[in-house]
Assembly symmetry: D2
Homo-oligomer: 163 residues x 4
Amino acid sequence: MKELRIIATGGTIDKVHDTRTEALSFRSNSESHLSQMLKIGRCYFPVVEVLMLKDSLDFDDADREAIFQTASNSAENALIITHGTGTMDVTAQFLDGQIPDKTVVLTGAMRPFSLSASDGDFNLGSAVIAAQLLESGVWGVMNGRVFPAGALRKNTALGRFDD
Amino acid sequence: MKELRIIATGGTIDKVHDTRTEALSFRSNSESHLSQMLKIGRCYFPVVEVLMLKDSLDFDDADREAIFQTASNSAENALIITHGTGTMDVTAQFLDGQIPDKTVVLTGAMRPFSLSASDGDFNLGSAVIAAQLLESGVWGVMNGRVFPAGALRKNTALGRFDD
Amino acid sequence: MKELRIIATGGTIDKVHDTRTEALSFRSNSESHLSQMLKIGRCYFPVVEVLMLKDSLDFDDADREAIFQTASNSAENALIITHGTGTMDVTAQFLDGQIPDKTVVLTGAMRPFSLSASDGDFNLGSAVIAAQLLESGVWGVMNGRVFPAGALRKNTALGRFDD
Amino acid sequence: MKELRIIATGGTIDKVHDTRTEALSFRSNSESHLSQMLKIGRCYFPVVEVLMLKDSLDFDDADREAIFQTASNSAENALIITHGTGTMDVTAQFLDGQIPDKTVVLTGAMRPFSLSASDGDFNLGSAVIAAQLLESGVWGVMNGRVFPAGALRKNTALGRFDD
């Protein structure tokens, strides 16, 4: 079975509630919830790498280049990139066609894992399977759907990704 | 994209804590948590059918025959059967080869959804994707892995399904 | 035993996470979580009244006058007012000495009940007991402490109320 | 303000779900959830002592004698004893009148803290305030009510303590 690496880049899935500001932010530059989420899912095998923890609305091409380099240089040929929902489609199209020999799945959450009742657990479980079953290419997997890079769209009105 | 039906048969994923007995049981004969879990996963499209809510250790061939009939007669060709972990392998092998034209994915949880920190959300997200991507046949999808019917095994010592 | 009324005015305890804005807001003008919190606490007897649901930083004297009138006119002589932490001290001092024949307890939360791991359940349980045991007057009860109206202070640096 | 000690003896409040047996048990002989519950309540000042972690249905007079000795010898004059609900009334009456100079509050939960939607947070917040406000004696504080030792009764049918 495929070796699987999860590359964390931040986004809502990894945000926490800051009681002082009442805003969502990250615990630190490097503390991701992904290992805890995998433990809850009783899924022991993926390698987790925290590349950065940023709101994807703040991503620039340097960030996307860093994601591309990390993905290209990874030893595994099945990759999950956790990413903010705001520009997941932009990064998917940035990577599309550039990593021909790997299956790259972007996922994230509309509601932070740390706030309970998050779609993050569901999406991460989806992405772990999709990364093992989909052919090489760049895909988005959110809310029960698989989207080719070019067809990934956030439906802000409905608060989910769908067709 | 494939139409998807989820057939609930019970198991730990749907159990609740009974404060009087301090044991796990079902809220009723028909109340499943699956619709709430799909809502949390922001996954709106699957059809949910509650066939029965039983501990799979109590299943007999009549129960498995009912599952077979329900699966065979469903209009959708992508099916998820939520099932107790105790005899998930038995039911998978009972169904194996009997439903040639459909993709049938068995899943469940080691810890009830209602108790928080459950693997149920992760597994359900996994199963929803697997049912859309896997070819026809009977599969088990648990804890991030896809198992052909004949290879599905619960690792009781580790508290998960794995190779 | 004393009859007890809980008057909801909003504040963090009743806020929810808005997936669209990623900010905290209220579900509506009238939907409080207090009845659900009491059910979880298995505490069936208090009367819950939703007066308003506002961030206490937005309170003006008209809001505080409305709170005063509602408290003064309530039939019960044990009252809890759920309130935002930002100006809980201002409202406590506004009410102090004005409702001589009732025990008035202000409480709330630093983290919303809806986000899990909230101090709201703990504080509500504290306030329910305090309203039954304290003598007439205006009090703040937060994070395990009882504060006379004039001594109520939020410690923003520590994210709690204390001495 | 009074110094406060919390003495853990076990009970449902500290139980966890064992995925292997699907029964409720304790994580170990010494791991209580009380410190985590106080942290969630943002209540930093009580001293926590784990005396034992047992189901109170298994308590014998030796266990109750150990509780009595620990309570009697504690430096603080405000004490909380977390206790199983099954025989909380028996222990309350065992201690009643034996610790004249301290306020002793027994509390616990109908549903484990570790299972979410527990009454434990609410009850612990209640007990922390009751231990500071009540006069010397032995009391039970559950589900928003204060009971003198002789009047403490579990209502098994309703799943709570009340009058």
